[in-house]
Point group: C2
Chain length 316, copies 2
């Protein structure tokens, strides 16, 4: 298992004809955009592939696979996209496929190797790596592929707001617009459209905000009760974790989300120089320097107390 | 009074040495970013200028004039930036300066001529026109100018989400990043930072949302009482008008804001093909096809009834 170049990756992909493309659990715009861009590119090379995710894919992403055949096939090789760690395949998928991944295409600095790696840790999104790969495969980017790549780039950069955005990110976006990406529709679906139930959930969540350490840390809680009362669900609240950091003066924003099984999913968003990945790694999680996460299986009070102790150490 | 080319505009600017640069009332990131980019560029040509606005400039924009001298000077000529109509100078500024504007630099399709016009109606932001002008002036873009141009572009496109965004918008943004624009800080200040008082105001405003015409129109009200109770103010709620359109299915989002003097400021945000500028123009206002505004001096019930009648006509 080694890091491979984009040209070597293109060579390897040309050797087989039938691929299973896996996304990470709780799929987001980058893992899905990357997977379907690759699916579409492989199809242009007359290769078969199917994209699979352990969790349901939210309906708002359906344009990504429009006019493609994502039916069942007998695959020869497995490709993982935007998956920093085998565990993020989800338990049963990790057991089924985790040891047999042929190539992993990713952009996470915190990546834990489990296959041949096409890894560009300096890119804002895995979709940027896919852009290079599609070019290396000699596939012409059509409007469908452009939609997929634009989606990955836009969602992983908070539509070009986050500090991970590079000049190259903007230039690839410009090119995808020229290739026909329906960027206004995509941005509206990804960033501007919320259900009334989500808006209610956001209002409930905002009312739980507590600040610590002279207002430099804000902690917000989302409970199963709030999901019930608002009628919202996990699938529609991708962006909720960005709310606590939006408060003036907050350096570390924390969102604690209660899962159906009573465990907690924690998301951290930080302002430079505070390192979200470092805090989460110490708690068994991982991610990027400004956006990371970890899991807890204990009471909410314990979750908060452990988090705040670790955050205080980082803030000092 | 004619439309002039960017080269002709650069020639004209080189003929005088002392300029008053005016922004529109209720200043936003594009009028301010454009004004201070020009102020900085003129200073590199050893010309004096001062930027003035009839309203107070919110403190969050202070980085735009950092390390520049924006003191009083005896000016020879007046430049207006991002001002589609003399009236938008504000009453007293319009009386004082409106007839004497030398050059107007703008990007509004709805522009009403009142000076020599450098007008690119197809650009996402006046800051894009300023970018062309700064190049035509032969001024090298430094990090200060880059911050100003990036700010104008990013704010007028909702950070590249709106349909007015062009491939050129992304490419100029990429170049501004390379010239040293502190894009992550700017984006955080412009899009990601809210005071607790604003967050409270948003919660109050969201609770007033009413939907009409099978959920295709959403109307939100912001009253002076809400400003009092939340502790928020006009200066910190630039983005609030974008909220109603964010609800799934809404084609026309309306925000009715009560002013201190009891009049109402209405902001419309639409989804294609619905034309916000057309609806507002019929009511004495103006703007862009997806974002426009108008004013009312009557009761809130009358405001709503007139608006809904005009919106229904557009939706049919």
């Amino acid at each position: 298992m080694t890091n491979i170049s984009v040209d070597r990756c293109a060579e390897l992909l040309k050797e087989y004809d039938n691929y299973l493309i896996l996304t990470h659990r709780n799929p987001d715009g980058d893992t899905l955009g990357s997977a379907f861009a690759l699916h579409r590119a492989l199809s242009k090379l007359n290769k078969s592939s199917m994209v699979r995710c352990i969790d349901d894919i939210p309906a708002k992403y359906s344009y990504l696979w429009e006019n493609t055949d994502n039916g069942d096939i007998k695959f020869e090789k497995i490709i993982a996209v935007d998956i920093a760690d085998r565990k993020l395949l989800g338990d049963s998928f990790n057991r089924l496929y985790g040891e047999d991944v042929f190539i992993c295409i990713d952009h996470h600095m915190s990546h834990r190797e489990y296959a041949e790696n096409l890894l560009f840790g300096d890119r804002a999104a895995t979709a940027e790596v896919i852009y290079e790969l599609v070019n290396a495969l000699g596939v012409e980017i059509d409007s469908g592929i452009a939609d997929c790549i634009y989606t990955g780039i836009a969602t992983d950069t908070g539509c070009f707001t986050f500090s991970n955005t590079e000049p190259s990110t903007h230039r690839i976006a410009a090119e995808m617009m020229e290739k026909g990406a329906d960027f206004a529709l995509i941005n509206r679906l990804m960033f501007e459209t919320h259900t009334m139930s989500y808006i209610k959930l956001e209002q409930m969540a905002l009312s739980t905000i507590e600040t610590y350490f002279n207002g430099r840390c804000a902690l917000m809680t989302v409970t199963q009760k709030m999901f019930e009362e608002s009628g919202s669900n996990e699938g529609e609240c991708d962006g909720i974790a960005s709310l606590p950091r939006k408060i003036e003066g907050v350096m570390i924003g924390v969102t604690v989300r209660e899962r159906v099984d009573g465990t907690y999913k924690v998301s951290l968003r930080t302002v430079a120089p505070y390192d979200a990945a470092k805090i989460c790694a110490a708690l068994g999680g991982g991610g990027h320097s400004r956006a990371a996460g970890c899991d807890f299986d204990c009471s909410l009070d314990e979750v908060k107390s452990i988090l705040l102790k670790n955050i205080e150490a980082e803030l000092v």
